[in-house]
Subunit: 294 residues, 2 copies
């Protein structure tokens, strides 16, 4: 797993010594700012990696907003605004339309950004989302404690099915889970005062659970039969869905007797670290855990 | 001038109705945050547009940091930190080195960001810089008033000469003005309580002066002989230097009897709007005013 991305992130970690950076192992930076706490995150999307060539530009814009707001949701933050880094493309008006739809749906203002011409080979965009903490201490990935229950706010695998239908031009299937994810902002705010650890699912349930487990120095034992999946998912693809990303549900732990204040599914438990970060039905999961850039 | 960039920015302006966005006509967003004022900006760099293919990755990183901090300088802001949107490339270690050098030179922490694989055709990076206002009201482009004197903190054209030497492989010429610009942070903080309008020079003196004039609804009358240029610049290229960008000096106005608290050059005067935004030696400048993406 010593990919180029991992090596570069290690170099960045050596620079990110400020406590606000949370050693780059969290969804967002957390900065004391005056008498408030600022939450800030920046995610990019690349053509051919994060979207299919030819995909509706309005959906690309929506997803760029949603994925960044999802990082704020994981911190229980209330969005303050976004800055857009945009590369001019084949249909700027459609992009602007989708951006406006997303900002209006989530009640977030556009504050600024930059617009550039695209190089020949492919486009990419970046978005910075800024939020205000609604609860301190701000939830983090490293707060899971043995004995806590592991929860997820919704199904995993819906984005995978949406992606496949879009790629294959299968018009009979709803692809909105892949194209237009909804950040769990209200859930994040309701959960922030209660959770041990919290994060959003972006790269796959198993790899994201592994990140939470490593940060918290616990083992997360997941019961695969308890993991919610879309009704239309074939049972044989349940394991695959757990390693597919883009679902943007919240993954969190709560004390054993605490009921979540929002719809959520108990999928496992935090235990004393047993030598493996994640157990799936009692054994370390074999094969791919999630998405990782090479 | 109805370029794709301008059309897209017009669409964004329709979305950026929050006063913090300053209608996207300023260098950075200005946000009341708790009992402080937050300044935030995001700029991108694209291979082949903002840097030469094959250029030292450490210089690219430096410039990415410097150009964004220059936007903070224009607001008299003290930097709080940066978030990096990075595309993996041919020499990630050199990039990390240059990034570390710049952050250390300007005393700014890395707070977070994102790393992605590059598409086939070309790379781009984005950087978000976050700062704290040191003076309120925060300086803006729209504050120039008739009678004020127009100043610039340093020469224009140095980046142009550096770019040409680098492109032509001319080893005898110092190219650092193009490769490693220095944001005028200390100057910006010293000037903030005194200026009418202030902005940084990124796209060319004439086009940037035009932006300040339009925002302020005045005419800026520039005396070309008073504009500082590098000693090595041939006099025949003085007009060209005024339309070349990348100099990252501060352009600002002061009341007629106010001396600047830092090194600066008086280059003209703000006047009642006369029908032209910018006059150069008494006449509207002909030809190209600066850099504009198509």
């Amino acid at each position: 797993m010593a990919s180029g991305e991992e090596k570069f992130i290690d170099m960045m970690r050596a620079l990110a010594v400020d406590p606000a950076a949370r050693a780059l192992v969290d969804d967002a930076a957390v900065i004391a700012f005056g008498n408030e706490t600022l939450i800030i995150t920046h995610d990019m999307m690349v053509e051919g990696v994060h979207w299919l060539p030819g995909q509706d530009e309005a959906d690309i814009a929506w997803k760029l907003v949603a994925t960044n707001l999802s990082d704020l949701a994981a911190k229980g933050a209330e969005p303050v605004g976004v800055l857009l880094g945009y590369m001019l493309g084949p249909d700027d008006a459609r992009f602007a339309q989708g951006l406006g739809d997303a900002l209006s749906a989530f009640g977030v203002p556009l504050l600024g950004g930059d617009t550039v011409s695209a190089p020949a080979g492919g486009r990419s965009h970046g978005l910075t989302a800024l939020g205000r903490a609604t609860h301190r201490p701000v939830p983090a990935r490293d707060g899971a404690r043995p004995g806590e229950v592991l929860w997820v706010t919704g199904p995993v695998g819906a984005a995978m099915l949406g992606f496949e239908a879009l790629r294959d031009g299968n018009a009979g299937i709803d692809t909105s889970a892949y194209r237009r994810p909804c950040p769990r902002l209200a859930e994040g705010i309701a959960l922030a005062p209660l959770v041990g650890a919290m994060m959003d699912l972006s790269d796959g349930l198993l790899i994201d659970a592994q990140r939470m487990a490593l940060a918290s120095q616990v083992t997360l034992a997941i019961d695969s039969a308890a993991v919610p999946v879309p009704e239309s998912l074939r049972n044989s693809r349940r394991r695959e869905a757990m390693a597919w990303g883009d679902d943007y549900e919240l993954l969190f732990t709560l004390p054993p007797n605490q009921r979540p204040p929002c719809l959520a599914y108990a999928i496992g438990r935090a235990e004393e670290f047993c030598g493996d970060s994640v157990l799936l039905d009692g054994a370390p999961p074999k094969g791919r855990l999630g998405y990782w850039h090479d």
